[in-house]
Point group: C2
């Protein structure tokens, strides 16, 4: 199982904290996942179920983009009731509701492992980008100084 | 349980991937943890055991610094055999060996939850630093341009 690339979004239901993310799988172009690091809920889409959901929602754009948009705009709401989780993404112009089902523990275990390494990959890639950005800022400042000092 | 602040280091033993990190606990100033996102191994130090370990190793410096140093220099080696893990940190000037013990599943579950939120916190803090660094680079370039355009 490939580690998910993120982005990973924090969410709450009551006092409980969760992580939400989505991914493309061999079986479906989009699935959403919610986890408390012990249990994992999934939309459990195959391509047929996903296309039926898209036909019903009337949204033909990539769900991953919508998912990200709603979390970035803080318009995503999560409810979790033991076996079932519901994720509602509500923007002004559109809304999407996903039912998520608790995965069996063996699959949850694999997903959590993939998630942990996905998060590690995300940290590593951000560290590299930060190093590059700090290097670029220092280099730009040095060029600026040397140009100013030229007659 | 407070989420660990990191840094988090990837490690391998054979084909298996692990994450290693350390933390200060109310019971001891240092403990090291190793996990495959399902099982968790810990040095299980209380302050007394930690001090005994430090007396034996002859290293009185903060173990967290040594831990980080060895992982950053890629001089840390991990071996895992079911119930037991061993972490060897070997620099030219010093070396440290830690025995880690598999935590009971209830504690492992809490540690994994704390780790996931620790990784999420790390991602969020890196994203903020990256945004600030990119902003600083753009601002420096703008100042440089405006100074050059002044007669």
């Amino acid at each position: 199982m490939e580690p998910p690339a993120g982005p990973f979004f924090p969410a709450r239901h009551g006092s409980q904290r969760y992580v939400c993310y989505c991914g493309a799988e061999p079986g479906a172009a989009f699935n959403a996942y919610v986890t408390n690091a012990s249990e994992v809920w999934s939309t459990d889409f195959n391509q047929e179920k996903l296309e039926r959901h898209m036909a019903q929602s009337g949204i033909s754009e990539d769900y991953s983009t919508k998912f990200r948009e709603a979390f970035e705009h803080r318009t995503a709401a999560l409810t979790v009731h033991n076996g079932r989780a519901t994720l509602e993404l509500k923007e002004d112009a559109w809304s999407l509701t996903f039912d998520l089902f608790k995965l069996p523990s063996s699959e949850a275990r694999m997903r959590l492992q993939a998630l942990m390494f996905g998060l590690m990959g995300c940290v590593s890639s951000l560290e590299k980008r930060l190093e590059a950005a700090e290097g670029a800022a220092a280099a730009a400042a040095a060029v600026c100084r040397s140009e100013k000092n030229q007659p």
